[in-house]
């Protein structure tokens, strides 16, 4: 997790400032050894390679998933990928892909393009509904060494993924009048609230904020808030408060350090996650994933609704950091914490040094250069 990497990096910075003679990188790596946390004791047989479904996707997807594959190989991580081709213009997700994910329980995926206004429903949404991945998680935090307008950002946005405004239930009442249904159920609101508080509890987070617009949508968002309040009473150690979504966006751009974990319904979560990702460094670096009762799909945290433009794909300049950090999350989910730590530390070192950064972070490197730098930084 980001928190464990920070004391290490502070140590690195202090060392690199102090030692003029010894190359700071070696010093940093040496201090990494001395700062290893208490060891993780696996059960015998935990080291057998796990199968993970890999969906390269559209646009920059194949590029960044290729990056992850390279890094995993370099680390000799105990995962092997079963690749399936899915593209945004298909009608439905092919059943063999769903079967594979059901078998492996874990999937890593690049973005799938969604045609605007067309007749095809978004494949991303279909996949989530099919596997009942009801929680979408985006972790937005400041990467050391990356200049942003806001500091001290460490926000996790947990967003309800299945219902709300994205139910897809629309119809034309009469020509020129269209209705869309926003459906909120107690069942879904309760389980997302439970997931949010459980996440906060397991990750030592102090505060959960519910984002809503219940002053206008009294019944729908009122139901969401009721569920959150009920679950909050079961976790007395975690602070709980509520904020209206427009005020929330305003606070995010002026004082983002006040937020910790945010739980939101579907649409607001989309906006809040993208805003938080933007203030903390951009969508190119934020990890995230979707999780349900039985399955987990890891992907770039906030994709801002696109899969990169054609130029980026041609010039191979997509930013692989987000998917690399998401794959570190996946490794931790699969209970390989030391591989996850190594990958995260390497990525953070590369960003900190600043020599290999893609265009969205202010540099000019290609994807491959960043990947090579990460592999070189692995210990």
């Amino acid at each position: 997790m980001a928190r464990r990497g920070l004391p290490l990096l502070r140590h690195i910075l202090r060392d690199s400032a102090a030692a003029a003679s010894a190359p700071p990188l070696l010093k940093a790596l040496a201090s990494a050894e001395s700062r290893r946390s208490v060891t993780y004791m696996p059960r015998p047989g935990d080291g057998t390679p796990r199968a993970v479904t890999l969906i390269p996707g559209d646009g920059i997807g194949p590029l960044v998933t290729g990056a992850v594959r390279q890094v995993m190989e370099a680390m000799h991580a105990p995962v092997y990928f079963e690749t399936y081709e899915v593209h945004g213009d298909m009608d439905t997700v092919p059943p063999e892909v769903i079967q594979s994910i059901r078998k492996n329980k874990v999937c890593l995926k690049g973005g799938l393009a969604t045609p605007v206004g067309g007749g095809v429903s978004s494949l991303n949404v279909q996949l989530r509904k099919e596997l009942d991945l009801y929680a979408s998680l985006v972790h937005c935090f400041n990467l050391p060494g990356l200049p942003t307008r806001h500091q001290n950002v460490d926000i996790v946005v947990i967003r309800e993924n299945t219902e709300g405004e994205y139910s897809g239930l629309e119809h034309e009442v009469v020509p020129g009048v269209v209705e869309s249904l926003k459906v909120m159920t107690k069942f879904c609101s309760e389980r997302i609230a439970k997931y949010a508080f459980e996440y906060a509890y397991l990750n030592n987070r102090k505060k959960v904020t519910a984002v809503h617009k219940a002053n206008i949508m009294k019944l729908a968002d009122g139901l969401f808030l009721e569920s959150c309040r009920e679950v909050a009473t079961k976790y007395p150690g975690i602070k709980y408060n509520e904020i209206i979504v427009d005020n929330c966006c305003m606070q995010l751009v002026s004082k983002p350090e006040q937020f910790d974990v945010m739980v939101t319904p579907n649409l607001y979560g989309n906006l809040v996650a993208n805003t938080a990702a933007g203030i903390a460094g951009g969508t190119g670096v934020m990890p995230g994933g979707n999780v349900g009762q039985d399955h987990a799909v890891f992907e770039q945290g906030a994709s801002a609704g696109n899969v990169g433009n054609q130029k980026m794909v041609e010039k191979k300049k997509a930013n692989p950091v987000a998917l690399l950090l998401s794959s570190a999350m996946m490794l931790r989910h699969l209970q390989f914490p030391s591989f996850a730590d190594r990958l995260e530390t390497a990525v953070k070192l590369v960003i900190l040094e600043g020599e290999y950064r893609t265009k969205d972070l202010g540099g000019d490197s290609t994807t491959q250069e960043v990947v090579d730098a990460v592999i070189a930084a692995l210990d």
Binding site: G117, S121, V178, E179, A220, M250, N270, L271, N274, A277
Partner: protein, 367 residues
């Protein structure tokens, strides 16, 4: 020949000074410079009366030909409007065609509609316009912001149509109509043209909500064809949020349905320093304009002469521009900007120590 032209011109002036409520396509009320224009003023609650006083002082100092009709929100529910706003107040706005509203605290309770909802429904206020620009001299984390958000104000997700299907399942309807979308798109392009803006961006989520936001986009595209000199683009809302916090200079005029507009306009207000500095104007059927201050009524500093009148002053400037009194509007606008830029007279919320009256006096001096 010259006499006939003179007679024709004076008769046109006479007709156009009366606002015709049935004319949907007239966006601006014409002003005849000789007689004072009547405008309705709702001072509001809390700090409302103090900042309304500021506006009156500045207008007097600038010699703006406006005669104020003040109306207060009562504490009894008027059965004709089902709210605390009286029928007379609403009639006054309809008659005058322009109004200025201070912050109003909606009292909690049942049996009456919220004040903002009453105004919106009764006056048919369909577009909310909020220009957001970085104030020179007041530094926030974002520089060079210069955009306008235009939000559809009547339908969309805020139709208020919700019901419980069975226990634990609630449905809320989002309605998008062609008529309302066309109306707000027309206003957006008209505003862009009259204010010299180059680009209009429609914000949507039509990849998920294909029919509703798809209809909104279709209407925007139709209107865009009529204005070929203005660039038109469509941006998905999550992309828009991300771009706004990374680089707000990329946007010019944004036109959006109700919910997205609410969130994005508050986000943009946050970029430039908060609701205490943001002007706002609601446009209604028949060219009615109701400028308002969007911040709260701040009851804790009411009556202490500490309030910041900037938001209401900038909104009144918007009102003047709507009335085509551009030279007066520019003078007052420049006075406000230079007062804030100099930094000698700033109210407490901007980090200074001046009182409301000091700030107002400084603005008048700068005229």
């Amino acid at each position: 020949m010259a006499l006939r032209r003179l007679l024709q011109r004076s008769s046109i002036n006479h007709i156009s000074s009366r606002v015709l409520p049935s004319c949907i396509h007239s966006f601006c009320a014409a002003a005849s410079p000789s007689e004072p224009i009547r405008a309705t003023l709702f001072p509001g609650d809390g700090i409302g009366p103090e900042i309304a006083e500021s506006v009156k002082q500045v207008f007097n100092a600038a010699g703006v030909p406006i005669e104020w009709e003040e109306h207060f929100v009562g504490d009894k529910v008027d059965p004709r409007t089902e709210s605390l706003l009286t029928w007379e107040s609403l009639e006054s706005v309809r008659r005058n065609g322009v109004g200025l509203k201070g912050p109003m605290a909606t009292p909690i309770g049942k049996g009456h509609r919220s004040l903002n909802l009453t105004l919106r429904k009764e006056l048919g206020l369909y577009a909310n316009v909020r220009p957001c620009y970085s104030l020179p001299g007041y530094k926030t984390r974002y520089d060079g912001v210069n955009l306008v958000t235009i939000r559809e104000n009547t339908e969309g997700e805020y139709s208020g149509l919700e019901h419980q299907v069975v226990r634990g399942v609630v449905e809320s309807l989002k309605i998008i109509t062609r008529q309302a979308s066309l109306r707000v798109a027309e206003y957006a392009f008209h505003y862009a043209k009259t204010n010299g803006r180059q680009r209009v961006s429609a914000i949507h989520k039509a990849n998920i909500m294909r029919k509703t936001d798809g209809l909104f986009l279709k209407c925007c595209r139709e209107v865009a064809e009529k204005y070929p000199e203005i660039t038109y683009e469509e941006v998905i809302i999550d992309n828009c949020c991300m771009m706004l916090v990374k680089n707000p200079t990329l946007f010019d005029v944004l036109v959006m349905p109700n919910l997205y507009g609410d969130i994005i306009s508050d986000l943009c207000a946050g970029l430039i320093g908060g609701l205490g500095l943001t002007p706002s104007c609601n446009i209604g059927e028949g060219g009615i304009a109701l400028a308002e201050a969007v911040h709260g009524s701040a009851p804790d500093i009411a009556g202490k002469n500490l309030a910041n009148p900037t938001a209401l002053l900038l909104s009144s400037v918007m009102m003047l521009r709507h009335l085509k009194l551009s030279d007066k509007a520019d003078r007052i606008h420049n006075a406000i900007l230079s007062t804030i830029a100099e930094g000698n007279y700033r109210t407490v919320d901007l980090g200074g120590t001046s009182s409301t009256t000091d700030f107002t006096k400084a603005v008048c001096d700068h005229l």
